[in-house]
């Protein structure tokens, strides 16, 4: 895990080392252990290293034997041992024990197809001296980030956007279309980012720069194809357990100690249990404990700690903590967010680092691929009812949704029907599963200024996303379509980045995700929908697989999605100064993104204690985070409010 950056000048001029230095210095949090540069004529590569594998021999940028290839690499190739053996059999000689050198030789052997050999999480760039080609690649599911900018003169890339914005002559402007997308889907559709001219290499894609021409290519995307033959449930469960065990085993490869995040839910508990099977040593686990019982899962965490006998540490998270660290959270997230949920993850990685750990395994990705989210259940009920809209019995199932939202549970069936009804035209939409969420989020655009509304009025975010759907998508089961939207978009753009990589790397911690092993992902994509959600029982097969490995109470507990307090974090007795500053009419006006009076009324609603709903809370978080982006990235680049 590291930070990477690079410059390729299209014209003959040599790369200015000071610029490269500037790019890598601003992301040193990603790699505090070592720093390296490679400069040759019009190419410059930089690397900030977090040493995890081959501590002595893994210095980067690294070259192959004849120096025809140079690589700067962020991430891990977990199956590097096996790929290395394969390459040795083909005659390659290795001078280090690192996975980085495996990338170099695999590229030499397989060219751009080398990525198909890798089981890992990566973002890397290879400079090929023979063909004068720059090759960039990002892992299948977008665990590791990679951004770039192209001008007629240069191609620049980096692990984080701030490296690119630090360069002279780069416009620091919010992309209003991206903002519209965030206030619809919660994420900008890649390659778009929150900033004009800065692009993200989407997950599962590679990029080449050759003779000044930039080309991107998909090498992988999620594909759902259930099997034709009947397989016994227990056989599936046994196969899954073996796969997960091996995925975990590979992710324990490290020359430094590895810990685990423990939420108290099924996914992280199962991963912790599997680690225990692999290592047999007492594992160090880490958790967040919320003061607010609405969000706290510590009783379950404690039960797992006792059951699996881990050495446990927890960080207590209060409303005030979230408000205090939020500017830093947004500095690292590099985009507006509508939830404060990344903030506790920031505190958790800090705890891990303070305990001298820099690698953790987590349960991320399971809900996406094994059917754990409530949105899947909601879609199933809505469609079940939508095809018989006159049914009086079918809408009663709506009461089964969202047990952790008291406001919703108090509603009459008549209102639930009104909120979750499926209009005839909705049934035809490719986004049927996500329409209620996206329509609710889109209502937040009421806070946009007239200028932003004028700029985005004719923009249709759904049309842009629809254009990117795979050809087979319309024929997929409703559950698979919803899974594709979650795993293909929300997972990389929000869960793995804003909540994942960025919050962990803020404190130089690497997350590893056994559920996102490509073999596990392919296995899950090939399961019948009924094994993911059996009637309304989510993650059915995973529960079957975990039955003998996790405490029964964890197996049976109702699903509790990870959430964090919002409005209360920003408005309280000792609220941080930046809240009033950023929400003041003068600040809103000078930012130009939001409408001063409309925001003023929302702020008043919070001050009066009248704001209780999801929509108001998302609006507040979205406005504060956007104002922080404006303030820390555009108006005063590099400004930091806190020293968290």
């Amino acid at each position: 895990m590291c930070g990477i950056a690079g410059i390729l000048n299209f014209k003959a001029g040599s790369v200015d080392p000071a610029l490269l230095r500037k790019m890598i210095d601003i992301i040193r949090h990603r790699g505090p252990d070592d720093l390296g540069f490679h400069l040759q004529a019009n190419v410059g590569l930089a690397h900030a290293r977090l040493s995890i594998i081959d501590l002595a021999g893994g210095h980067q940028p690294m070259h192959n034997g004849d120096k025809s290839l140079w690589v700067t690499f962020n991430g891990e190739i977990f199956n590097y041992v096996e790929v290395r053996e394969q390459l040795i059999r083909r005659g390659y000689r290795f001078s280090t024990l690192s996975d980085t050198e495996v990338i170099l030789h695999a590229y030499a052997e397989f060219g751009e197809h080398c990525v198909h050999e890798f089981n890992g999480q990566w973002a890397f760039a290879i400079w090929d001296n023979k063909s004068h080609k720059l090759f960039l690649s990002r892992d299948r599911l977008g665990v590791r980030p990679l951004f770039y900018r192209v001008t007629p003169e240069t191609f620049t890339f980096a692990s984080e956007i701030k490296s690119l914005l630090a360069l002279p002559g780069v416009p620091r402007e919010l992309d209003l279309i991206a903002l519209d997308q965030i206030f619809t889907f919660w994420f900008p559709i890649p390659p778009r980012t929150a900033f004009k001219e800065i692009k993200e290499l989407p997950p599962g894609q590679s990029l080449t720069v050759e003779e000044g021409v930039v080309t991107t290519k998909h090498y992988w995307s999620p594909h759902f194809e259930p099997p034709q033959n009947h397989v016994r449930e227990q056989d599936y469960a046994d196969e899954l357990r073996d796969l997960l065990l091996d995925a975990t085993r590979l992710r324990l490869r490290s020359d430094v100690p590895v810990g685990a995040y423990l939420s108290g839910g099924l996914d992280s508990t199962l991963i912790t249990a599997l680690i225990r099977q692999c290592t047999g040593v007492r594992l160090k686990t880490f958790s967040i404990r919320f003061d607010d019982p609405e969000f706290d899962e510590s009783p379950y965490q404690q039960e797992v700690v006792r059951f699996l006998e881990t050495e446990h540490r927890e960080v207590r998270c209060t409303h005030a903590d979230i408000g205090r660290i939020f500017p830093d959270v947004i500095w690292h997230a590099e985009k507006p967010v509508l939830r404060t949920a990344p903030a506790p993850m920031f505190l958790l990685s800090k705890l891990v680092r303070e305990r001298d750990y820099k690698v953790v395994l987590t349960g991320e990705g399971s809900d996406e691929i094994f059917g754990g989210y409530d949105i899947y259940k909601e879609a199933k009920i809505r469609r079940f009812w939508g095809v018989r809209p006159d049914s009086r019995v079918r809408p009663l199932l709506l009461k089964r949704l969202y047990p952790y939202f008291p406001n919703l549970q108090q509603q009459s069936v008549a209102y639930l029907q009104a909120f979750f009804h499926a209009r005839p035209q909705d049934l035809l939409s490719p986004f049927f599963s996500h329409l209620p969420r996206w329509e609710l989020t889109s209502r937040l655009k009421i806070f946009f200024s007239e200028a932003v509304r004028a700029e985005t009025r004719s923009y249709d975010a759904y049309a842009d996303l629809k254009a990117l759907l795979p050809r087979a998508y319309p024929g997929w089961d409703l559950l698979f379509q919803a899974q594709f939207l979650e795993a293909g978009y929300l997972l990389p753009a929000y869960i793995l980045s804003s909540q994942g990589d960025r919050m962990a790397m803020a404190h130089s911690v690497e997350g590893r995700f056994p559920f996102l092993d490509p073999r596990v992902v392919d296995f899950a994509a090939g399961l019948p929908a009924t094994l993911k959600m059996k009637v309304l029982n989510e993650k059915y097969l995973l529960k079957l697989c975990a039955k003998e490995l996790v405490p029964p109470r964890v197996l049976k507990r109702p699903k509790q999605p990870y959430r964090a307090p919002e409005g209360k974090s920003f408005f309280h007795d000792r609220q941080p100064d930046y809240v009033d500053e950023l929400l003041s009419p003068a600040s809103i006006r000078s930012g130009g993104i939001f409408h001063t009076d409309v925001v003023g009324k929302l702020v008043q609603k919070f001050r009066d204690g009248r704001a209780i709903g999801v929509k108001d809370n998302m609006a507040l978080t979205g406005i504060i985070s956007t104002q922080l982006i404006l303030n820390q990235y555009i108006q005063n680049f590099g400004r930091r409010y806190t020293d968290a």
Partner: protein, 83 residues
């Protein structure tokens, strides 16, 4: 003497639309159809009515027939107050 219509309109426009009416809300407009109200919005509306008019709303009264437009709200509240 309460002017229900004015008070309810003011509450809805301020509280749910934050003062921003792209198209003036008519008294018969459906709060659901125009996406003015969501699940929490119903609770906010009920709390407002209960506090403002000193009424107690029963669970079975919390239905769109009573609450889903300014006209319906006015009719419903007037009925409750007069009982």
């Amino acid at each position: 003497m309460h002017n229900y219509q004015t008070e309810l309109r003011q509450f809805i426009v301020e509280n749910f639309l934050f003062g921003r009416e792209d198209k003036p809300l008519s008294n018969s407009d459906s709060l659901l159809e125009f996406e003015i109200i969501d699940s929490t919005g119903v609770m906010e509306l009920v709390s407002f009515i209960e506090q403002k008019y000193q009424l107690e709303l029963r669970d079975e009264e919390l239905i769109p027939e009573n609450l889903d437009s300014i006209d319906r709200l006015v009719r419903f509240i007037a009925q409750k107050v007069n009982v």
